[in-house]
Symmetry: C2
Subunit: 507 residues, 2 copies
């Protein structure tokens, strides 16, 4: 994921029942289902080896590493899992993969995969990032360590393991599948909309009841949060320079000249100052709130229901003593879900070392991100920001949009959400519906125009360290509330049956 | 010098007469003077060797290199040059040196030396920084390259060479001398006031007619600018942090949390915004202009007289297209000399690399310098800044004062200025009186309380590269308008005679 969706903000209550022990775990409650589950168990060791082999071939988009190889590998993984056709598709950037599995079912589910991973520095890892070594995770079980273990090869391989099991057991899938995979998720999915606009792919998606992205969704206590949406984000660098301004110096000059030469750094500070109110957080970009939709009573209800019990623990993890305006936890949670933000990620100008140095810098940069809530859009936000700056005499400041997308949301009653909820409920796993993550993911490529499909993550199991050293995925769980690799695959089997059931009742 | 006084801001007109060829060069116009000049010529090679040997022993205060050795060496140099007593004096930091030369004259001149140098990286130099190699400088002559060549061992050794010549020629000095030398100039002369407060040293200084610091003052065209003063400066780092604020995070956290967690970076931006007006340059710290003294008609006259002819050349060197408010060159020069400034040297917060990174930084720092004009003082400025911030709710922002001092000025009719002017005039060297440098040097240790003495730089000759690789001093000049090493020493001889003459007429 480019942005950390998995940030612990919400949470969930203690499990009602243990996962593995649940008699309701057999979602379909029939012999076919049991045969598939048995096939997963038989395949487990081989499946872990397949995950290891995939991890050993990292595709890193911003470094151009294994881009054609990663696409071809993805294509082969799909074919091996039972997709009847799979092809590499040019996107203008790193290629994508499109595959279909026709099970002769009435309904079709779309699956979204990413085959790229974040870069890594082996010297920071305690075991080699491409080896997928199994290590003991005290109190939790056995974990596989490797780049992509949780983000996103691990859960995706667990989904493919579910498909292998159907094949091995000779059981027909309850739904047809359409797979779209990209190799640029970690650099902002820039070319993914182009890929989705391919007529054949678009038509296949439009036949589908929704889009599911396999994920590893359990917290330490076993609970799962099913997200109904996430804020959008734009990442922007504002650059003030003597060159572009036509005032101030072209390079760093002696600081005494501040008495006669304009300062690009002050120019930037004055521009920044207009973007938020004096409270230090309320955005003041012209028209910023025009399309901000307030939380509905239902969204507030869901937020209240998923409020973590231990506010102090949440604060402690973040190193925060007070929320904005000293608000109580629930009010602050409403703010978190409902408010657009203008954040300073970084400030860079002139001398950066210890102490001081007598220069007047020729350039100053502010790195910002703007989180967007429905019904704001990325295009609208960029345009408003530019107009706001230009109107106030800051039109010379470069607005470099380095990434981003609009907010995403899927209805609570959509099939992908309801199937996920039903699967968890039957497995006795505590879950909550979370209206909107404050972090971001590019779900809008599906939920926004032109597709306007419901899209969401689903998955049990547990992992961590996305984008960090020692990324891990739990493969054997010693905690009955938490799924290991085989149960992760089982949950996907159940999910497919639930999708078929939901589709039948609602169409 | 800690701050670059030598910054080319002013300039001077073409020389009226060539230096070396001037018949008026013999300032005293008597046989004794001629004997001293002859002794300089005879000593020249040995003098250059003495400079080389001094350069070979660099004292670097911030690295603790050669601090006692440098002081002892300085003491010995003084004794060798004819000072009858010289001693190393503890200052609380790197020791200083105090020496006296009683010539039985009626008047006493104080001399200020620094024996420390800036650090250096030999790999950046084209000849070894401690060797003092002689290299050809195309169109200018032969230059000695080494750390301290111009800042400040070269001109100081030229002054000592003048004293050697008096001794060698058996000629009595026309004035008594008091020497104060420090070894911490490059780190802000922190302990120098303590040293000057020593009762014996203070008394000796108070007997003196003024303080002269030997320098290398000629531009490429041979002209010299005699400075009457310089702005003061304070270097300050403002640090906003979640820790000190009690709001915001203790460390960098995920940027989505901007919706519920206060931002130390925005806190800093809001604080900075209050320090200058929306024009981006006028200081708005409460009471900042209370003690700002406007330029006098005479100061304006001097600034106009020293205005460089080629404004475009000055702009080109700086990479500047327009002065503040599109002012004409003279108006902008008045502003440069008269206005206090609040400059941003650097901004440092959060993510500093290419593109963006979704963090909300726990810390933000602005590196600032404030240039002060008479009658502002450092203490007043620091106090006003702190009060200003506290009054506006920014009292938590750390104000780290990493260096600085009050402005310095000496009267145009002071002996050190008048003797310098008379020396240059008789040598036929074009010069201008410059009312106030926009850059800074700590002359206030002499010109401010308690001593309140006139103090200024004097010297001919040419050099460059202070604080930079390949620092150089011209030792043989191929341009008749510019002095080499021997003429540099000669000018100091003349200067001492002029001091004696000025002192006689004015006391």
């Amino acid at each position: 994921m480019q942005f950390d969706r998995h940030l612990m903000i919400g949470g969930a209550a203690v499990l009602a029942m243990a996962f593995a022990a649940s008699p309701a775990n057999s979602a379909a409650g029939n012999a076919s289902h049991d045969k598939v589950v048995a096939a997963i168990k038989a395949d487990q060791d081989a499946a872990i080896e397949r995950l290891r082999a995939w991890i050993a071939l990292p595709t890193i988009a911003n470094m151009g590493i294994n881009t054609p190889q990663g696409a071809e590998y993805m294509r082969q993984l799909a074919l091996d899992a039972g997709f009847q056709q799979a092809k590499v598709v040019a996107s203008g950037g790193v290629p994508g993969v499109f595959a279909t599995l026709d099970a002769g079912a009435k309904h079709t589910l779309a699956i979204y995969f990413m085959y790229d991973v974040k870069h890594y520095d082996p010297t920071e890892w305690s075991s080699p990032p491409l080896e997928g070594k199994i290590v003991e995770r005290p109190g939790e079980g056995q974990a596989l360590v490797g780049r992509g273990a949780v983000n996103q090869k691990g859960p995706q391989m667990a989904f493919l393991t579910a498909l292998h099991a159907f094949k091995d057991a000779g059981v027909k899938l309850p739904v047809n599948l359409v797979l779209v995979a990209e190799g640029e998720e970690e650099i902002g999915s820039t070319n993914f909309p182009t890929l989705l606009a391919d007529p054949e792919i678009k038509a296949a998606l439009q036949r589908s009841v929704g889009v599911m992205m396999p994920s590893t969704g359990q917290s330490r206590d076993g609970s799962v949060s099913l997200d109904l949406g996430a804020k959008g984000v734009i990442e922007i660098q504002l650059v003030s320079s003597g060159d572009k301004w036509g005032r101030g110096p072209a390079k760093d000059i002696h600081s005494s000249l501040m008495a006669r030469v304009d300062s690009p750094a002050w120019h930037l500070v004055k521009a920044l100052d207009t973007l938020v109110a004096d409270d230090g957080f309320t955005p003041t970009v012209d028209g910023w709130f025009e399309n901000v939709r307030p939380l509905t009573p239902r969204e507030k209800e869901l937020l209240a229901a998923s409020l973590p019990k231990d506010e102090e623990a949440v604060k402690k993890v973040l190193g925060v003593r007070r929320w904005i305006q000293d608000e109580d936890f629930l009010t602050s949670t409403y703010r978190l879900a409902s408010q657009p933000t203008v954040n300073i990620q970084g400030l860079v100008s002139g001398y950066l070392g210890p102490g001081g140095k007598t220069v007047l810098p020729g350039r100053a940069e502010a790195k910002l991100d703007f989180r967007l809530v429905p019904d704001m859009t990325k295009a609208e936000a960029v345009e408003k920001l530019k107009a706001h700056l230009a109107k106030r005499g800051f039109g010379d400041i470069e607005v470099i949009v380095s990434g981003g997308y609009s907010p995403t949301e899927s209805p609570e009653d959509s099939m992908v959400v309801q199937a996920g909820a039903a699967t968890l409920k039957k497995a006795g796993i505590e879950y909550s519906l979370f209206p909107r993550r404050a972090g971001s993911w590019p779900g809008v490529v599906f939920t926004g125009p032109p597709l306007k499909m419901a899209a969401g993550h689903f998955g049990v199991g547990r992992g961590g360290g996305a984008h960090a050293p020692d990324e891990w995925l739990l493969v054997e769980s010693s905690d009955p509330r938490v799924a290991g690799y085989a149960q992760q695959a089982e949950a996907f089997v159940d999910y497919l049956y639930e999708i078929a059931r939901e589709a039948k009742t609602s169409r």
